[in-house]
């Protein structure tokens, strides 16, 4: 299978994502430039990486969403291709309407950069199938705007359709206010779209995908995608 990592002006986790896909998950990977108007036909999964695309001007992800490659990413997702938005990539996906809701300023107003624990709420997805049952993942976050918000109807629909994939929790898997780093509704750390082919998450799996980095919980997500395409 083949990953493609989109590079926007201001992306800063693109090389990490490329490296995790290529050298940790041992898959093919290429970069796509924000001005590209074509996603090559052999690409299975597009990653929108973390960073500060277009300087986060106006709102995080708001400008990147209208870059030429994004129209292609929307078409790619509409045809069922896998799309993963990590951190700023998640913000781009909500701005693009590929995922519901939005990511607001952290309730503490602080930029939070630390390892957090997340619980997999739905491991029946192409992005989470290889995560062991009840395994609490330790993955870093680094964001100032990760406070997930959506109106009541949207939240209900996310719950009804099992679209909440990850929630912030403590090291034992308890989901409580204390382990919520940014004020997200229901401790939401990651969601998928209704069709199950678009994932957005604030934590950075590519930053902890190899034990030389201090842990490899992030690798489960890459391995899950790989497994999905090896069928």
């Amino acid at each position: 299978m083949k990953f493609a990592v989109v590079v926007f002006p201001g992306s800063n986790c693109d090389a990490d994502a490329y490296n995790a896909a290529k050298n940790d998950a041992l898959s093919d990977a290429v970069y796509l430039w924000h001005k590209d108007k074509i996603i090559p036909s052999d690409i299975d999964c597009v990653i929108l990486p973390g960073g500060f695309s277009y300087g986060d001007y106006l709102r995080s992800g708001a400008i990147a969403r209208f870059s030429p490659i994004m129209q292609e990413v929307i078409n790619f997702a509409d045809k069922g291709g896998s799309v993963v938005g990590i951190c700023n990539g998640f913000q781009v996906l909500t701005e693009a309407g590929l995922l519901p809701g939005t990511l607001m300023r952290n309730s503490s107003l602080n930029f939070v950069c630390k390892d957090v624990n997340i619980k997999t709420i739905n491991n029946q997805t192409r992005f989470t199938s290889q995560i062991p049952n009840n395994w609490v993942l330790r993955i870093p976050i680094a964001h100032g705007e990760g406070n997930y918000f959506a109106d009541e109807d949207t939240i209900k629909s996310l719950q009804d359709n099992n679209q909440i994939v990850f929630k912030y929790c403590d090291e034992n898997g308890n989901i409580d206010d204390k382990s919520n780093p940014n004020g997200s509704l229901l401790n939401i750390a990651g969601i998928i779209n209704k069709n199950g082919n678009v994932l957005g998450m604030m934590p950075h799996p590519e930053r902890l995908s190899n034990n030389i980095l201090g842990g490899n919980d992030g690798l489960y997500i890459f391995e899950s995608i790989k497994k999905y395409y090896s069928k």
Partner: protein, 87 residues
């Protein structure tokens, strides 16, 4: 074509906690400004628009606001518009 100048005020919707406003309010209240409350912080955008008339200028700017300038999930916006004379 005429030129219109517009001022756009973007505020978080009522009911959405404005943590920035709240923090500024707390800071004010800890200073000598005990009587200041309900601080809310938004964005202010100025732009000009070429259009045949005011209605079509408003329509264009409205579309720009809902597509890019504001996020309708959490923000309301208000547009004030005025023709620029003498150009």
């Amino acid at each position: 074509m005429k030129t219109y100048s517009a001022e756009i005020k973007i505020m978080l919707k009522k009911g959405i906690l404005d943590v920035q406003g709240k923090t500024v309010e707390n800071s004010l209240n800890s200073m000598e400004f005990k009587d200041l409350h309900n601080v809310r912080i938004g964005k202010f955008v100025e732009l000009t628009c070429q259009a045949d008339n005011e209605d079509s200028a408003k329509a264009i700017i409205n579309q720009a606001c809902s597509k890019l300038i504001a996020n309708p999930i959490i923000e309301d916006y208000h547009i004030s518009i005025q023709e620029v004379k003498g150009e």
